[in-house]
Each structure stands twice: as structure tokens, then as C-alpha cells.
């Protein structure tokens, strides 16, 4: 997978993850172009299209488009399943996920994505496994952030 984009019907980018080194201005150009192409697609059309030298796999979930660019030898059908798995993870984490969740908790969305995929490849094929890891990491973050009393700070309590 070269990159994954999440964007709304109005063309607002909600998440972008790039798995190959790309210059900032090239990223901007590609995102703009690709969003236009995908947003022009009609509802009954196929989830796959060819764009530049890449294969694009996209799926719309409510108001968000999940869009991945994969290489020639990648399996488009399993990519659809990867997208679906990511949506399921978000859904379980946020409890019936909606676009606003992704907007206001964008860093959480990234943390989940980074626990699910690395270098564009799946890390853990078990949904439970990914969610458990995120839960533990969140716990660690909470412990870290919780205010400590003066005595605790001094190691006396």
C-alpha cells in the first residue's frame, strides 16, 4: 500500500497516511487530484479504478471515503477487507463511529491505524488483538497523564 486517505464528500481531508517517502507538494497535488476523481464516481460504480500507475481501492462509509493506493501486484479484494477491518476497529473503539469522532479525535484514529498497519502491511490479523493493544496503550497514557500529588512526586506515597 502506498498511501491511505480518508475524506468527506465535501473534499475535506480527515486522515492521510503515506507509506512511501513523498515530497509535501507532491502529496498535496495527488490528494487534490485523487479526491476529485473519486468524488466524481457514481454510487453504483466499481470500487476499483486506475489512476496514474497505481490501483485505487475505495469505499464509502456514511459520509467518509476510505481510499487506498496499492501496487500492481496487490490484491484489490483483500484491500477492501483491510479497509473494512479498519472501519470495524474505529467503530468498536469509538462506539458507532461517525465523522465527528475522526475530526475531534484524529490522533486516536492515527494511533489505531498505526497499530493495525505498518509500512502499509497488516501487523495483526486479529481484530481483538489490535483493540487490546490500543486499550493497553491508552491505559499507559492515562497513568502517565494523571496528576500526581506532591507526596507521590517525591516518592513518599
Amino acid at each position: 500500500m502506498r498511501f491511505m486517505l480518508l475524506f468527506s464528500r465535501q473534499g475535506k481531508l480527515r486522515l492521510q497516511k503515506w507509506y512511501t517517502a513523498t515530497a509535501e507538494r507532491d502529496k498535496k497535488k495527488m490528494v487534490r487530484e485523487l479526491m476529485q476523481v473519486v468524488l466524481a464516481r457514481k454510487p453504483k460504480m466499481c470500487s476499483f479504478l486506475e489512476w496514474r500507475d497505481l490501483k485505487i481501492v475505495y469505499k464509502r462509509y456514511a459520509s467518509l471515503y476510505f481510499c487506498c493506493a496499492v501496487e500492481e501486484q496487490d490484491n484489490e479484494l483483500i484491500t477492501l477487507e483491510v479497509i473494512h477491518r479498519f472501519v470495524e476497529l474505529l467503530d468498536k473503539y469509538f462506539g458507532s463511529v461517525c465523522e465527528l469522532d475522526i475530526i475531534f479525535n484524529f490522533e486516536k484514529a492515527y494511533f489505531i491505524l498505526d497499530e493495525f498497519l505498518m509500512g502499509g502491511e497488516i501487523q495483526d490479523t486479529s481484530k481483538k488483538g489490535v483493540l487490546k493493544a490500543i486499550e493497553q496503550a491508552d491505559l499507559l497514557q492515562e497513568e502517565d497523564e494523571s496528576p500526581r500529588s506532591v507526596l507521590e512526586e517525591m516518592g513518599l506515597a
Partner: protein, 638 residues
């Protein structure tokens, strides 16, 4: 949470200008916070900046803050710091080198979640230098550690190998042993790593072919295992892992009989037993088909694979139909007969609503045309042409012409097909095909009358399609006499007067829709008619004289030469503008005396050369010159 407040404020901005104002204020505040050495809300601050960056605003002033946060002992700060690094830094920036040390330390941290952050970031934006530096660490993690870290180390190794293929050597030994792990994440990572190692360095293939039996076992386990809730997707046990294993098997079995044999049974089993009612199963079947077709499989297995693709063509899910056609396209040359069996279904897909599916169906249909099916296929292709989306039309017309030329069952059929395409889609026929079409028409001599009549009738109702215009003009110029005679065997008669013909040609000359090439064709046709009509030579003379001062330089030059033909060289006009073949001969001595079709008395060799040049340049005719000249002249003029 402070960043939520900022997000709310930004979203409530009513104009782009207002938003920019808010962003500017927020960025100023963030910058100020960055400068303060020890502020409590550092992670929130950076998170705000990352949001701003996501909206498209510049955020490079946050790069150093990311570096600082990554070095913090607190998990919450590391977490957002590493995220920031992945979003704001790329390998080209110097700042990215500064985090190498932090990553190195974090790779051996006691908390696996911190190790995880380091691995993820390295795999995301690690430069070649960083990779070289940290590769030994990754290799160590591949061997030691728990499955949580092992699976991440494997994918990190994949990134390293992509950046510096030679470092693959470092990971090759451990990669193989990872295949005996029970954890699916580790297995998946191992398979991806081995795939990468084989693709980057074919020298590794022999080594990893030894793993084929293990891979086959893994697949068997997945396919025959009972329901496993943790890995089940729509009735398939870990389709993600299955797909990757199948892909690796493909690479290992390619061009290798032994490896291909070892996986034959497994592939048959997967192909037969996998339920394709949902996408997960179809994904596995798809990968299986790709593998079967790419390795050295038995013919029975290949047929099985093509049949799966055929079944896919009938699937309700459009995605699966599309995938099927993509795969069929890849094998249509090598397994032509097998794919031909599904021709009917493929042709049906020409009617699909989706343009991508249509495009695939068109490519495949063209590839499946043969001498045996040309008539029925052409019917379908012409039907398709009438409802074809604009972006596919010129490809379709080219494909149709090629197919017609290769397999035309008769000349009449061929001409009819050409005419049909020109008349219904002439605007999409590529300019380069026009000379070829003219050539084909000129060779079909019994059909000249029919052809010129049909083209003339198409022309009088529509002069906007340039290729149609060009071919029609050429035919009218060349066979105008047949057009004017009125009757033709295969068409209802229609009275065409000299004025009618000149009217349409002049309309083309004057129309703003006509391209320069088309206007050239029209003018030449008018000129040629001067030798085929009787009553309107003056009209032709005046048209030609008007265009002598036309703005278009090429048209002007043409008209000037034609003018000259009328004025100074009228004796040559007939010869130049009339039919194909001119036979010129300078009479030999009386002793040889043989009959010639046209004898030009008193012409110099220069005259003859001029005629030939003119004819070549200005009439777009194909012609043959048979020249009989006395030997003396031959030796002098060659």
C-alpha cells in the same frame, strides 16, 4: 481537552479568511508555548499543531518540538511526538536524523508499547542512513522478544529491505524460522518479509523454496481448521494471511517444477473448497487463481482457475466482475481457448453501467475476436459503439478497424463496417487511420459506386465528423463520376447534381467546424471534379481562385497551384486530376511502335516529372506511373 476547543473554533469559522485568522492566532500561541521550557500541556499543544497541519497549513516550526517530545520519558509525550515526526518530518530533513538516537534507545525500552512506537516510526519514515544504523537492532528483535514485538520487527525489516536491499542478508536466517511461530501476526509479518526478500534478491529463491512444505501446511491448517472466532472473516479463516501465503507460493513456484508440484494439491483444494459468497472468500480465490496461472501447474488446474474467473463474471458484485476481467486480460493470449468459452458473458459486460467494467470488457472482447466469430463479435462491437462512453470511443474505433482488417470475411463486409464506423462515430476515429481507410476503399473497386453514394449521403446530413469528412471528400473527388451517374445496385437511387456535390464541398471548405486537413481534402476533391464534370468548370475555377488568397497557408498554396493548372497548364490538368493510373509514353521509333493508353506528344521529360510531382503532392491519389522512355532519356534522367 484543549485541542477539541481549538477544533471547534476553527470549524465555526464561516469563511476561508476567518479560518486563516483563527489559525494564525492559534499558531502564534502554539509557538509561544513551544518556547517555554517546561509547560504542562505539551502533548495537547503538539496535537493542535498536527490538526492545523492536516488542514493544509504550514507547520514546520513544530519539527524540533517533535524531536524534544520523542526524547521525553513520558509515554503520552512520546506517543504524540512520534506521530508528529511521522506527519511533519520526512527523511529529507535534517531533523529526522536527530531522532535516530531516541529511536535506538526506545527500541530496547522495557515497555513494549514504547518499543512499538519506535518500530512504527522507523518503518514509516526511516531514511537509508537510519535503516543502516538500526538494522542490527531490528534483527535482534526478530529473534528475541515476544510476538507483539516480533511481528512489528518483521514489518520494520521489510521497510529496511526496501530502502537498502543488501541488508536483506541480515534478515534471511531469522525470516525462515519465524514461520514456525503460532501467532498469526508473526506469521503474516514473516510471509511479507520473505516475499520482500525474494522480490529484491532472486538469489534468495532457492533458499526459501525449502519453505514451501511449511507454507503448504500453514495454508492447509487455515483451510481445514474449524471455526476460529479470532481470525474468522465471513466464514474464511484469516483471509489476510491466506492471501499473503498464496502470493508467496506464487513467487516460489514460478519457473520451478518441483516447487509447483509441491503446491499443486493445496491449490486445487483451496480453489474447490473456498466459499466465494463474500468478498473475503473471493479475495482468497482470486489470489489462488493468480498463483495457479503463474506457476507451472497442470492443465486441469489451469482450467479450474479459468472457470473460477468465468464464475466471477456472473457474480452480482461488480467489483468481482471487474477483477475477473482484469485477470482474464492477463491470460487471454496464453490460454486463449479457455477464455473463449466465456466470451458470451464478457460481451454482456459491454452493457455494464460502470465505465471501468466497460473498458475491461472492450479490451477483452477485442482480444477474443477471431476468424470464426468475427461476424457476431462485430455486431456486438458496433452495438457497443453506439452507446459507448466518450473516453472509450477512439480506442473502440481503432480496435474495430484492426479487427475488421485482420478477419474481414468479405470485401463488402469490410467496406460496410468501415462505413458504419465512419458514419456513426467518425468524430472519434483517429486521424492517422484515414490514409489506411482510403487505401482499403480504393482497393475494393467493385464497391466504389456503393461507397461514394453512402458517404455522400452521410455527409449531407453531418459535416462535423472530421474523419468521415476526409474520407468522404476523397471518395467524392475520386469517384465523383459514379456519384453523379445516379444509380447504384445496392442503394435506392438518388439524384445528385453537380451543383449539389459542389455545394457540400464548398460548405465544408467554409465551415468553422472543418479542420485544416479536412479543408485540404475538400479543395482537392473540388479540383479533381474538374475532370469529371461537364457543366460547372467555371464554378470550380472561381472557388480555386478565391482560395488563392486564403489565410491558411497550406490551403492557399494548394489553391495557387490549382489556379496555375487552370491557367498555364490546362493540358496537364486532365492527366493530373484524373484516375489512378497514368501511363505516359514518349513514342519510340516507328520500328517498335506499340499502343499506349495515353500518348503525350511534344512533352519534355521535365513535363512528365512535373505531372508526377503534382499528382503526388496535390491529389492524395495513389497512382501508378508506367513510363516508357527511349534509353537515351533514361540514362540522362534516371
Amino acid at each position: 481537552c484543549p485541542e477539541n476547543e481549538m477544533i471547534r473554533v476553527i470549524r465555526s469559522a464561516r469563511t476561508q479568511g476567518e479560518e486563516r485568522g483563527v489559525i494564525q492566532r492559534e499558531c502564534a500561541a502554539i509557538r509561544a508555548q513551544f518556547r517555554q521550557a517546561d509547560s504542562g500541556g505539551r502533548s495537547h499543544n503538539l496535537a493542535k499543531l498536527l490538526y492545523v497541519h492536516m488542514l493544509g497549513y504550514p507547520a514546520h516550526f513544530g519539527q524540533m518540538e517533535c524531536v524534544r517530545m520523542i526524547a521525553s520519558p513520558r509515554y503520552s509525550e512520546k506517543r504524540i511526538g512520534y506521530l508528529g515526526a511521522m506527519m511533519l518530518l520526512d527523511e529529507k530533513q535534517d531533523a529526522s536524523l536527530l531522532i535516530t538516537n531516541s529511536i535506538k534507545n526506545d527500541l530496547s525500552h522495557s515497555s513494549q508499547y514504547i518499543q512499538s512506537l519506535a518500530l512504527c516510526t522507523l518503518a514509516c519514515m526511516g531514511s537509508a542512513e537510519m535503516c543502516r544504523d538500526l538494522a542490527p537492532e531490528i534483527e535482534r528483535l526478530l529473534k528475541a522478544s515476544n510476538s507483539y514485538i516480533k511481528k512489528k520487527a518483521a514489518l520494520c525489516a521489510v521497510h529496511i529491505v526496501r530502502k537498502i536491499p543488501e541488508l536483506g542478508e541480515l534478515f534471511t536466517p531469522s525470516a525462515h524460522s519465524l514461520l514456525s511461530d503460532k501467532n498469526h501476526g508473526v506469521l503474516h509479518g514473516a510471509v511479507v518479509l520473505i516475499t520482500e526478500l525474494c522480490e529484491r534478491n532472486p538469489g534468495n529463491l532457492d533458499e526459501f523454496r525449502k519453505a514451501v512444505p511449511e507454507l503448504v501446511q500453514i495454508m492447509k491448517g487455515l483451510v481445514t481448521s474449524g471455526y476460529s472466532p479470532e481470525h474468522n472473516v465471513a466464514g474464511i479463516s484469516d483471509p489476510f494471511l491466506q492471501v499473503r501465503v498464496l502470493r508467496l507460493l506464487r513467487i516460489l513456484g514460478r519457473n520451478n517444477d518441483e516447487a509447483s508440484d509441491a503446491m499443486n494439491d493445496l491449490l486445487a483444494q483451496v480453489a474447490t473448497n473456498t466459499d466465494s459468497s463474500k468478498t473475503a472468500g473471493s479475495a482468497v480465490l482470486y489470489e489462488t487463481v493468480l498463483t495457479i496461472m503463474d506457476i507451472k501447474s497442470e492443465s486441469g488446474l489451469r482450467v479450474l482457475a479459468v472457470n473460477i474467473l468465468g464464475r466471477f463474471l456472473l457474480n452480482n458484485d461488480r467489483n468481482i466482475r471487474y477483477i475477473s476481467m482484469t485477470s482474464l486480460q492477463k491470460i487471454v493470449q496464453t490460454d486463449h481457448t479457455a477464455v473463449q468459452r466465456h466470451r458470451g458473458t464478457i460481451v454482456d459486460c459491454l452493457k455494464d453501467q460502470d465505465a471501468s467494467v466497460k473498458r475491461r470488457a472492450l479490451e477483452l472482447s477485442l482480444a477474443l475476436v477471431s476468424a470464426a466469430n468475427i461476424r457476431s463479435m462485430m455486431k456486438e462491437l458496433l452495438r457497443f459503439l453506439s452507446t459507448c462512453p466518450p473516453e472509450l470511443r477512439s480506442h473502440a474505433t481503432s480496435g474495430i478497424f484492426n479487427a475488421a482488417e485482420r478477419y474481414a470475411p468479405s470485401q463488402r463486409w469490410h467496406i460496410d463496417t468501415i462505413l458504419h464506423v465512419l458514419i456513426t462515430a467518425g468524430g472519434d476515429v483517429r486521424d492517422e487511420t484515414v490514409p489506411n481507410l482510403i487505401q482499403l476503399i480504393s482497393v475494393a473497386s467493385e464497391l466504389h459506386c456503393y461507397t461514394v453514394h453512402k458517404l455522400y449521403r452521410a455527409l449531407i446530413s453531418d459535416i462535423s465528423q472530421q474523419s468521415l469528412v476526409q474520407v468522404a471528400c476523397w471518395c467524392i473527388g475520386e469517384y465523383g463520376d459514379l456519384l453523379l451517374k445516379g444509380d447504384c445496385d445496392e442503394i435506392e437511387p438518388m439524384q445528385v447534381t453537380e451543383d449539389d456535390v459542389l455545394d457540400v464541398l464548398e460548405t465544408i471548405l467554409q465551415s468553422h467546424m472543418s479542420s485544416p486537413t479536412s479543408r485540404g481534402f475538400a479543395l482537392t476533391a473540388i479540383m479533381k471534379l474538374s475532370t469529371r464534370i461537364t457543366n460547372n468548370i467555371d464554378r470550380i475555377r472561381s472557388v480555386v481562385s478565391i482560395y488563392g488568397s486564403c489565410i491558411d497557408v497550406e490551403l492557399q498554396q494548394r489553391a495557387v497551384e490549382y489556379n496555375a493548372l487552370f491557367k498555364k497548364y490546362d493540358h496537364m490538368r486532365y492527366l493530373i486530376m484524373s484516375s489512378h493510373t497514368i501511363i505516359l509514353g514518349i513514342p519510340m521509333s516507328k520500328s517498335t511502335g506499340f499502343k499506349l493508353h495515353s500518348v503525350v506528344e511534344g512533352w519534355s521529360p521535365q513535363d512528365i516529372l512535373s505531372v508526377i510531382m503534382y499528382k503526388h503532392t496535390y491529389t492524395q491519389s495513389n497512382f501508378v506511373v508506367i513510363c516508357v522512355v527511349p534509353t537515351i532519356l533514361h540514362s540522362r534522367y534516371g
